[in-house]
Symmetry: C2
Subunit: 417 residues, 2 copies
C-alpha cells in the first residue's frame, strides 16, 4: 500500500530507536497502556513505521523542556511512514498526524518536521496552485527572463483609499509590476476594503487601457469566511487579479476553499512563521510547510530574502526558494516572494544561488525611499536583475547605471550585515 | 479610542525600550527606513504604543537565534497597544498583528505572546461559544456538581465502524458521558465517516430512548471546507450533539464558520499546540490562545491534565483551566478538556487547584484497561470525583471504593512522576 513518509529532526535523552518508536506509536495506533483492540492485523495495516534513523551530533543541554534524566542528548534524522489508508485525501488530518501531539512527547527535547513525501496515490487528488509562477507573471505581463518587481504599500496602515490610490498611480507610472497591502491592513476604520479596491483598481484598469500593462495588486482579504468570500468577489468584480491571505491566521481549510475558486492568483503571506520555525529544534521547516500550502492552492509564498532585515540566514532563504520550485505531485510551482530589506543589491547573490527569475522580488523602503523617487527605485531594481542574469557584478552594474548606483549609495551600507 | 493591549514576554540583547519600540513599529506604521506618508497624524491614530515594560532576569545564553552582539540578554514583560481602528472585528488580522512578523525580528532572542485584552468595543461583535460548559454538560444530561466523564476510542485508528460501535455500546452501558474519536481518525479507508456516525448514533439514540441519557460523541469532522460542512450535516441528521475539530490544522476562519452554525457543541482539539508553546520563550501562551478560540466559538478546549503523560507542568495546566473559565467580553466559558494519562487519581489535585467541576475529564487507557473492564473504569472515575469534591483524600477514597482502589493498584505507580 502507498505510504506517506515524514522526515524529522529529533533530540532525545533516550535511545534513538526507543524515541522513534514512541513517536510512531503516539501518532498511530498506540497509547500509554496496551488496549484490547490493538491486534496484529490492525497494527500491520495502520501503525506508523520507523523507516530510518541517522544519528547526528550529541549535546549536553536540552533544546526544549522535556524528560531530562540524562546529561546527554542525541540528535538524529528520523523518517516515519504511514499508509495513505489512515488519511485518504484529508490534509488537516495529515497535518494533525505529522505535526500533532508528537510535539508534546516528553521523550523529546527537540522535534522538527523537516519535509515529507506523498506517494503517487495523491496525484490528481489536489489541483494545487491554479496559476503558479508562470501564469502569475503572465497576469501582470511580466516577460520570462526577469522576476516580477513588486512593492508594499507603506506606511503599512493608516492611509485612506484616496491616498493609497494616489500612491498606486505613482508606482504604476514608475513601472512596477506588483503592489500589495501590508498584512496589518485588511479593512481599517479609514480604509474600508471595498472602497480601497475600487479606487486602486480604477488606477490599474485605466493604466491597462492606455498601455496594455496590467499591474497586479494583492488585496488582503483575510478575515472570517464571509469576509473572505465577499472580498474575493469585490476583487473579481473590479477586474483585479490577485488576493492576499495571511495563511497562518486564516488557516489551511479556509485558504484552500478560497483558492479553489481559481479566478485570482493567491498571494500567501506567512506572517507568524517565526513562531513555528525560528527555533532550530522545534516546529516545522520550509520544505514541509511549502508543500502543505501548495496542496491548498496558494500561488505565491513568502520566503524572506538574502541579507534580510529579519533573523533568517541566507542559506535557509535559498533552501526555501528551491522548495517552491521543486517538483511535487505534478502540481504547478509556487512563485517565491522575496522580501524584507531588499533594494536590488541582493539580486546578484539571489540569482547566483538559485539560478531562477521565477520570483516576485519585492522592495518596500528600497523603492519608496530611493533618491530618484519610486520611479528611480523601480528602475534600479530592473537594472540589478537585468545585469545579474547576464553575469555582471554589483560593482559593474553600479558603474553603468545611474539609478542602481544611487541605490548602492543610499542602501548599500546598512543592508550589509 | 478603544485600544487592544497585548502582553509579551521578550528577551533581547538591546535596551528594553529600544526593542519594545522596534516591536511596536514593525507591527504598525513603521518600516526599516522613514517613508513619506508616515505623518504625525497617522502615527497618532494608527501606531502601536508601548504601554509598559517590566524588567525580569538577565541571562547569558540567547533562547533562540537572533542578533547576538552582546553576551547579556534581558528578559521583560512588555505591553503594547493598538487602536481598534486598525482591525475592526477582523480576528485573522488581529492575529497577524499580535503574532505576525514580530517573531522574525532579530532584535529579539525570545518572544512569546502571553495574553491580550480586548476593549468593550468588541462586546456583542462575537457570539463566542454557543454552548459553553453548562449547556454542553446539559446536552449529555450531566448534573452540576461533577465533571463530564469521557473517553477516547483506542486504538486511535484502525477499527471498523462496526467494531467502534460495539465498543461505544459497551462504554455507554458502563455509564460514560462522553466519547470521542482520536484526532488521527477522520475518515480512514476502513472507517468512512458517514457509516461510523450512523452506527455509533444508533447505539447512542437507542440507549437514550431506553434511559433518557444521551451520551455525547465528538466525531472528528476535520477536513477541507466541503468535508467539514458535509460531516457536520451528517452528525445533525443522526441526532448527534458534538463535532470535533483539530483547530490548529483546520485554522481559525473555517473553525469559526462551522461553529457559527450553533447546532452542535464544538470540541476543540489542540494537537500541534506544542509547536507554538513548548519553548518557554517562543510562541504563544494558553491565555491568549484560549481567547482566540473562544472568539471563534469553540465550546470545549483541550488543556492537558495534572501529572499528564506529556511534558507540560501541572502549574501550566492549572493556569489553562482557569483561562477557560475567566470572564471575557461577556461570552460563555470554555469547557476545559482534561486528558492525557488521567485515571481518576488526579481528580483530587485537579479539584484542589481549580475548584471547579465544569470540566470534561477524560481517561483513555485509565478506563479501557481497568481491571474490572470499562464499567469499572467509569465507576472509579466517578468515585474519584464524588470524593474529591467533598474533600476526601485519594487514600480515603481508595479504602472505601473497590473500583477506585483497583485503579490505584493498576495505574497509581506509573502515573506518578
Amino acid at each position: 500500500m502507498d505510504r506517506i513518509t515524514a522526515h524529522y529532526l529529533i533530540e532525545t535523552p533516550y535511545k534513538l530507536e526507543d524515541a522513534a518508536a514512541v513517536l510512531a506509536g503516539e501518532q498511530s495506533s498506540g497509547t500509554f497502556v496496551t488496549v484490547p483492540g490493538e491486534t496484529e492485523t490492525l497494527k500491520k495495516r495502520f501503525a506508523a513505521r520507523v523507516e530510518g534513523i541517522e544519528e547526528l551530533e550529541s549535546i549536553t543541554h536540552p533544546s526544549i523542556p522535556g524528560d531530562i534524566h540524562n546529561s546527554k542528548f542525541k540528535r538524529a534524522k528520523v523518517s516515519v511512514s504511514w499508509s495513505v489508508e489512515n488519511f485518504q485525501a484529508n490534509i488537516p488530518t495529515l497535518i494533525s498526524t505529522l505535526q500533532g501531539n508528537l510535539y508534546e512527547l516528553r521523550q523529546f527535547t527537540g522535534l522538527k518536521l523537516d519535509d515529507f513525501d506523498l506517494p503517487k496515490w495523491y496525484e490528481g487528488k489536489f489541483r494545487g496552485p491554479a496559476f503558479g509562477s508562470e501564469k502569475t507573471k503572465n497576469l501582470a505581463n511580466v516577460k520570462p527572463g526577469r522576476p516580477m518587481i513588486g512593492t508594499i504599500i507603506k506606511p503599512s496602515i493608516g492611509m485612506s483609499p484616496e491616498e493609497t490610490a494616489k500612491l498606486v498611480k505613482e508606482l504604476i507610472e514608475a513601472g512596477i509590476d506588483f503592489i500589495k497591502d501590508d498584512e496589518l491592513m485588511a479593512s481599517s476604520a479609514n480604509s474600508p476594503f471595498e472602497r480601497r479596491v475600487k479606487l486602486i483598481m480604477n488606477e490599474i484598469n485605466r493604466f491597462e487601457q492606455k498601455t496594455g500593462k496590467k499591474v497586479m495588486y494583492a488585496f488582503n482579504i483575510s478575515g472570517d469566511y464571509d469576509t473572505l468570500k465577499r472580498n474575493y468577489d469585490t476583487i473579481v468584480e473590479n477586474q483585479g487579479t490577485c488576493a492576499m491571505l495571511s495563511i497562518n491566521s486564516v488557516g489551511w481549510t479556509a485558504v484552500k476553499a478560497i483558492a479553489d475558486r481559481g479566478e485570482l492568483s493567491i498571494h500567501g503571506h506567512r506572517n507568524g512563521w517565526g513562531m513555528i520555525n525560528r527555533h532550530p529544534m522545534l516546529g516545522i521547516n520550509f520544505p514541509a510547510y511549502a508543500k502543505l500550502w501548495r496542496l491548498a492552492g496558494v500561488d505565491q509564498l513568502h520566503v524572506n530574502g538574502i541579507r534580510n532585515k529579519f533573523w533568517e540566514s541566507d542559506q535557509s532563504v535559498i533552501r526555501s526558494i528551491k522548495s517552491c520550485t521543486s517538483s511535487f505531485l505534478g502540481l504547478k510551482d509556487l512563485l517565491p516572494v522575496v522580501s524584507s530589506g531588499q533594494w536590488g543589491g541582493q539580486a546578484f547573490d539571489t540569482y547566483k544561488f538559485t539560478n531562477t527569475t521565477n520570483l516576485l522580488y519585492m522592495a518596500g523602503g528600497g523603492i519608496m525611499a530611493h533618491p530618484s523617487e519610486p520611479a528611480g527605485g523601480v528602475k534600479a531594481l530592473k537594472q540589478a536583475w537585468e545585469n545579474a542574469v547576464v553575469g555582471k557584478t554589483l560593482e559593474e552594474t553600479a558603474k553603468e547605471n545611474k539609478e542602481f548606483r544611487e541605490s548602492v549609495e543610499k542602501f548599500g551600507g546598512n543592508a550589509k550585515r
